[in-house]
Amino acid sequence: MVIRMRDPFATLASVQRAMDSVMGGDWLGTRTAGGGAYPPVSVFNDGEDFVVVAELAGVRKEDLDVQVRGDTLRIKGKKSVAYEDKASVHRREREAGEFDRTLTLPAQLDAAKVAAEYRDGVLTVRLPRAESERPRTVAINA
C-alpha cells in the first residue's frame, strides 16, 4: 500500500492507519536479537531500501551509536533525564537509562551506503540492500 497525499490533514490519518495495519506484525518475528525492547522501532520499505525509524526524545546525538554489519542494525546509546540542583520533582514520567537493540533485517545491507539522520528526537536510518540482494533482470535469449 502506498500512502498518497490528498490534503495535508489527511496524510497523518492515512499514515496512522497504514502503521496500524502492520502494528505488532511478525515481519521481524524472532529476528530481533540483543537485549532490550527500547527504543520501539518502525520499519518501512522505500523501493528496495529499508527505512528504520525510532523515537528517542531526549537522547543527545553524541550519545547515539548506530552500527551496521551484514544484515543487522544495532542502535545503542543512553538517555539521561537531569534536573537542576535543589529542585523538587512533582511529576516524573520520563524514563532514563541505557539501551542497546539489534535488529536483523531479512536481507544483507550495503553498510557503506547506510545513512542515519537524527532530528527532533527521531532517528531515521536508511538501509540500502547489498548489491547481491538486488533483483537482476535476466535477458531472455530467443
Binding site: 500512502i3 502492520v22 506484525g25 522501532v41 520499505n45 524514563e95 537509562g97 527532533d120
Partner: protein, 130 residues
C-alpha cells in the same frame, strides 16, 4: 551494565472534548519540577519541530500542542511497526502564582522545556533575625 530504559507505550489521548481534526493524538510523557524561582515542565514530543509547537496559557490553563510532520512518511510503505505516530496534546492547570507574561520555552532533541517563573509575591523570602 547500567539500568536500561524501560519501554513506555505511547498513551493515546482520551479527551473530554472531541476533536474535529483528523488523526490521533497522544499524551506526551511529562516531568514537572520546581525550583526556587520557577516551575519547569519538560515534555517529550519526538518528531515535533520547534516551529510546530503551540503553547497557550488561557484562564489559568496551560495547553501544549505539538504537530508532527507526517510528510516524510508519505512515500514509505510500512512493513513493521511497534508504535504509531501522531500529534501531541496535553493541558495543565497553572497556579495563579505563576507570572504568565514571563513564560519561556525551548526545544532540544524532541524535548520541550517550558519554564513558568513564579510571580514575585510567590517567591519565598528568608527573613533574617536581628
Amino acid at each position: 551494565m547500567a539500568e536500561q530504559v524501560a519501554l513506555q507505550q505511547k498513551k493515546e489521548l482520551n479527551p473530554a472534548q472531541e476533536r474535529t481534526e483528523a488523526g490521533r493524538f497522544f499524551s506526551p510523557y511529562t516531568d514537572i519540577h520546581e525550583t526556587a524561582a520557577a516551575v519547569v515542565v519538560t515534555v517529550e514530543m519526538p518528531g515535533v519541530d520547534k516551529t510546530a509547537v503551540d503553547i497557550l496559557v488561557e484562564k489559568g490553563v496551560l495547553t501544549i500542542k505539538g504537530t508532527v510532520d507526517a510528510g516524510k512518511y508519505e512515500s514509505l510503505r510500512p512493513i513493521y511497526s511497534e508504535y504509531n505516530i501522531g500529534n501531541f496534546v496535553r493541558t495543565f492547570t497553572v497556579s495563579t502564582k505563576i507570572d504568565s507574561g514571563a513564560i519561556s520555552a525551548s526545544m532540544v532533541d524532541g524535548v520541550l522545556t517550558v519554564t513558568l517563573p513564579k510571580a514575585a509575591e510567590a517567591v519565598a523570602k528568608r527573613i533574617t533575625v536581628n
